[in-house]
Amino acid sequence: MAAEALYDMYSASLYGVIVRIVIDTAVAEDVLQESFVKIWQSFSSYSADKGRLFTWMVNIARNLSIDKIRSKDFKNQTKNQELENNVTFIDEQKNTVYKPELLGIRDLVQKLKPEQKSILDLVYFKGYTHVEAADELGVPLGTIKTRLRMAIQQLRKSFN
């Protein structure tokens, strides 16, 4: 069944993004479900010539996650955790997926410069816009864009 294949292929990657944005496991599970329902329902609006399927899906999941953390009832229950620690904090807590074929790449990612990785994670895993990231880090917009680009280029080099 297509739904199962879709879920098995992408749920972990999407959940990794969602849980890093909303932090709370129960909320993240809700958002994951909402994301798949939305993906499923609006599938006819996805077109392959506008980009890769995962890019489209992760944007849906990220937007739902951001909607969730900006909603009223979520704000009431949020415990403040330091932003910079989020990714490592979660990696310590959850079962990250260890795929043997990713082991080498994981090491390469560790070679990203910290200031590049932190911006990439703020935007990709925390749902910040680059404008918000510039505010948060106290860095000019142009620098943010450059660092993002450098980070992704570094990734591309590593992955090829």
Binding site: A2, S11, A12, Q41, K50, I105, F159
Partner: protein, 268 residues
């Protein structure tokens, strides 16, 4: 390409205008499309490195919600076979439009039936409530009557009460009234049920008097009507040689108008 807009596009961090711009450029320039593709692949891999497996329960839950949401996975398959796509999507839409049509009709029918049923039940309830109120009133009336009769029976059984019959005068030969009087309890009652007096009008009322050592003492007023019933308690008196009734101005007068004397009866 150098501006970083492609990266922001992949990260979902562009506005609607920029989005269309990038998509238009990608369509025109294969180099840009390739660049985008490469960025997308990198981010996809990056997400995979940081993937977290959701719990197994969630898998079933999500898949169930997909099934209940759309019923089947036709939508997804349709986009894989691109030449069939338009046709299949159309069918699915037709099907869902039909489904909603029928669902709407069914809902409407159900609603009409429900309203009709509700209306019938409401009417039944209303008439049942009416009957209930009538019965309660009747019960109340009976119990009042029983109480009253109990009370009257007590008086008639009481040996301290004397029944004094007042007879009509020459003017009203047919008039009759029974007065129950207990000198010990100083109580005076008149029996309206068996009274025979012409009905008085609005401007007049009958007044009962006791004659004590030759002087009239006011014992209160009463009305005579065709449907008068029960015993009426009048003012109390301990000693009396006779009782008399006159027809007076409404509300009574301090001393009797002897010309209007209608009833009189001696106590001994």
């Amino acid at each position: 390409m150098e501006s970083g807009i492609l990266e922001l596009y992949v990260l979902g961090d562009v506005n609607q205008d920029e989005k269309h711009q990038v998509e238009a450029m990608a369509l025109q320039h294969p180099a840009i499309k390739a660049e985008l593709e490469s960025i997308e692949k990198s981010m996809e891999l990056y997400a995979e490195i940081y993937a977290i497996e959701p719990s197994d329960d969630i898998r079933g839950q999500v898949l169930n919600s997909l099934i209940t949401n759309l019923g089947d996975d036709r939508n997804l398959k349709s986009s894989h076979s691109s030449n069939q796509r338009a046709k299949v999507v159309e069918l699915t839409q037709q099907k869902s439009v039909n489904f909603f049509k029928y669902a709407f009709a069914a809902c409407l029918t159900l609603l009409i039936l429900s309203v009709a049923t509700l209306f019938a039940v409401y009417n039944k309830l209303k008439s049942a409530n009416g009957e209930l109120v009538t019965m309660q009133l009747q019960t109340q009336k009976f119990s009042n009557k029983v109480n009253l009769m109990d009370h009257q029976l007590d008086i008639l059984r009481d040996p301290s009460f004397k029944i004094i019959k007042l007879d009509g005068t020459a003017k009203t030969p047919n008039a009759k009234l029974a007065v129950a009087w207990s000198p010990a309890k100083q109580k005076v009652m008149i029996d309206l049920g068996r009274m025979r007096l012409p009905a008085n009008d609005d401007q007049h009322s009958y007044q009962l008097w006791a004659l004590v050592d030759g002087k009239p003492v006011d014992l209160g007023v009463f009305n005579a009507a065709d449907d008068s019933t029960g015993l009426l308690e009048m003012k109390s008196i301990a000693r009396a040689q006779a009782f008399a009734v006159t027809l007076e101005q409404r509300g009574g007068v301090p001393s009797p108008t002897m010309a209007n004397l209608v009833l009189v009866g001696k106590t001994e």
